[in-house]
């Protein structure tokens, strides 16, 4: 095979080089190294306990540890180079084909008009050379995704436009796409097709606020609570090693002083965690712009790796306004517009939401306007939700809270160490939580949309377009039947959504109406 360097810039070369397999630039090796590194790092998390146990041995034999790391690194490099060598792509009339894989060979053949989504990513190591990687996905199963790694940015942009053009021609719709072939090469102020309007931008202030509100600190603290003793004794030993005797201070210093220390320590930890969260938010959302063309939303953001996600409006399945407790305090909302298989792909991507259409920490009116373009005349921001049945509380208290309390009381009865106050306190706390959960649950339906609200401390509001519903489940347990209640589960292409324990007749009406609407209109859901 001749050394086919990456074709330059113009569309002509795309069609000129028909039917020939191309290699990408050797920069792709960097991409593979990064990918393998991420896999390694993700798994190191599970190896940490082992590392911890072996720490002494590692310290005793640093050369062995270093050589293991060296071998690991060279394996990573070797496989990255190999992956690059076997990677081939071909652009022929209206299709992109990609061959890749070392052990399991993969050949993806993706016609342009089946491509739903074109994503251009610029990791930091590509930005130096003005390169990018392109991901296409077809809206089908996940393994039908094709990725062209290491293309010059300008080439990627031209290809993106060509694909869009091809799609609008092949569907015979008159395209209002005025294609602009002249691209500025510096990625910072590149604009795409001419009808693009910037819908929303996020300032650093917004991102800082997002960092604060999306902080999962309290969850971490709750998870750490059972280990407080271990942590303190561990920290005590370490400090003692550094010549600070905690125990002596605890015994000798006045109580107020210890209290001040404890509080300042706590504040320090909270501050550090919040800072990390803010840094995370800024890295992910720096320079955030959400822009809109006549048929899609485009999200660009990222400090180190620039992400660009474009999602056709028709592909959006659900609008979701998420608020954590702190978001409610600050009056901000995280808006998410989920597309196909949002729940599954978020699991696959390890919970990273760079590929999602997410607008961090916006005000309600901005939410309303952004959703308005996708779901016209929706009323998600000020819907009067109808409560679900109070039997929800009875169900969860009797099937979850009471058994837990029962087990606790039993063990406190036979175990001197456990005060009888514990089960009582646990019972009340859990019962209040169940009550709060009930308070948040709500649903509402109109001709075109189904609204759901749920949450506990936070509040999530969902707007489901009825014509996009894939299937629906009507379910009833024996007790619910006795009390004339029923639950509904609604499936969209983005996942499933649940309305528990509402009036049986009302559930039946919604069930019938949804089916009627979906089947009689038979509108496209994508």
């Amino acid at each position: 095979m001749d050394n086919s360097s990456v074709p330059q810039q113009t569309i002509d070369t795309i069609t000129e080089n028909n039917n020939r397999w191309h290699r990408v630039s050797p920069l792709a090796i960097l991409y593979y190294i990064e990918k393998l590194f991420v896999i390694l790092l993700n798994n190191i998390f599970y190896m940490l306990p082992a590392l911890f146990v072996l720490w002494d041995k590692i310290q005793a034999n640093p050369w062995i540890a270093a050589s293991i790391i060296g071998v690991l690194l060279s394996i990573i490099t070797f496989f990255s180079i190999w992956s690059f060598v076997v990677f081939r792509y071909r652009l022929s009339e209206g299709t992109v084909e990609v061959k890749s894989g070392i052990f399991s060979k993969k050949h993806v053949n993706l016609p342009f008009n089946r491509i739903q989504n074109v994503k251009i990513e610029q990791p930091f190591y590509y930005r130096i050379f003005n390169f990018s990687s392109m991901a296409f996905d077809s809206g089908g199963s996940l393994n039908q995704e094709a990725r062209l790694i290491a293309l010059p940015l300008s080439f990627a942009k031209t290809l993106q436009i060509e694909i869009n053009e091809y799609k609008s021609n092949s569907t015979n719709t008159v395209s209002s796409f005025d294609v602009n072939n002249e691209y500025q090469l510096d990625s910072d102020n590149s604009t795409a097709a001419s009808d693009e309007v910037v819908e929303n931008t996020r300032s650093i202030g917004d991102l800082i606020l997002h960092g604060i509100t999306s902080n999962r600190l309290y969850i971490l603290l709750a998870a750490l609570a059972p280990f407080v003793d271990d942590i303190f004794s561990f920290a005590g030993e370490k400090l003692e090693g550094m010549g600070i005797d905690i125990q002596a201070h605890l015994d000798n210093d006045p109580a107020w002083q210890i209290g001040v220390w404890a509080i300042s320590l706590l504040l320090l930890v909270i501050g550090l965690m919040t800072l990390l969260s803010i840094i995370g938010a800024i890295i992910m959302f720096y320079g955030y712009t959400l822009s809109r063309t006549h048929d899609k939303y485009i999200r660009r953001s990222g400090l180190i790796t620039k992400h660009e996600v474009s999602v056709p409006l028709s592909r959006i399945q659900i609008a979701l306004m998420k608020q954590d407790l702190l978001d409610i305090v600050f009056g901000r909302i995280n808006l998410r517009l989920d597309q196909l298989n949002a729940q599954i792909s978020s699991v696959n991507a390890g919970g990273n939401d760079t590929s999602k259409l997410l607008v961090p920490s916006v005000f309600a009116y901005e939410c309303r306007d952004i959703i308005e373009h996708v779901f016209p005349s929706h009323n998600l921001h000020n819907t009067d939700f109808m409560a679900i049945s109070k039997r929800f509380i009875i169900r969860y208290v009797s099937f979850i809270v009471i058994p837990i309390t029962g087990v606790l009381s039993y063990s406190s009865y036979y175990n001197e160490g456990l005060s009888p106050m514990v089960p009582i306190a646990v019972f009340f706390v859990l019962a209040v939580l169940v009550y709060g959960r009930w308070l948040r649950w709500g649903y509402q339906i109109n001709e075109t949309y189904l609204y759901i609200q749920k949450g506990l401390l936070g509040r999530d509001k969902y707007c489901l377009p009825i014509t996009k519903i894939q299937k629906i489940t009507f379910s009833q347990s024996y007790f619910m039947e006795q009390n004339k209640l029923a639950s509904l589960k609604i499936y969209l292409a983005s996942g499933s959504y649940h309305i528990p324990m509402i009036d049986q007749d009302h559930a039946k009406t919604i069930y019938d109406y949804v089916l009627y609407k979906v089947e009689s209109e038979a509108k496209a859901w994508m």
Partner: protein, 178 residues
């Protein structure tokens, strides 16, 4: 399509929306699945007993007693579960209407799952070795979204499964050209 929207149960003459009514699965289905699971657990039980009684690595007496108790307890629980499962399988049913296909399942938690035909992406008739032996088939219906929740009607006579499949495919044709 400007025709009047109808969604009556197929093979019944009505031109209005009817609630889906349950058609039961093939008679032998619940028996067959129960027989299969009884056989599976019986084989497992035999294997466990053989492992316990084999003369090559003798199990100490105390360990043997405990294991036998555990096996007996587990057998009772599994037996009850199999019995429950039998009635659950017997309670399953389906309904094919003009515009959608419905699955009824559950004994304590009753679920009515309805899949509009216009949302079906593809449809498969599947038959395992046991299904082939007794002349049954499963109908798998796929739509977009939650992969974990595939819509599957088990225990259909092969002709029934094929005819439902053909009806749905015919409907899809209409959708595409209409």
């Amino acid at each position: 399509m400007s025709t009047v929207f109808t969604n009556s149960i197929l093979n019944v003459d009505h031109s209005k929306i009817e609630s889906p009514t349950k058609t039961h699965l093939a008679d032998c289905y619940a028996m067959v699945t129960t027989a299969v699971s009884i056989t599976f657990w019986a084989v497992l039980l035999m294997l466990a007993l053989c492992a316990l009684m084999q003369p090559f690595w003798p199990v100490p007496q105390s360990g043997r007693d405990i294991t036998i108790n555990i096996i007996m307890g587990a057998s009772i629980i599994i037996g009850l579960l199999i019995l429950f499962k039998y009635f659950e399988e017997k309670a399953k049913g389906y309904c094919v209407r003009e515009q959608d296909i419905t699955l009824f399942k559950g004994l304590i938690f009753k679920n009515i799952i309805t899949q509009p035909i216009c949302r079906i992406q593809h449809i498969e008739v599947k038959r395992g070795p046991i299904d082939r032996k007794v002349g049954l088939a499963k109908l798998h219906v796929y739509s977009a979204g939650d992969i974990s929740q595939t819509f599957e009607i088990p225990g259909l006579a092969l002709e029934t499964a094929n005819s439902i499949r053909n009806q749905i495919l015919a409907h899809k044709e209409m959708q595409h050209h209409g």
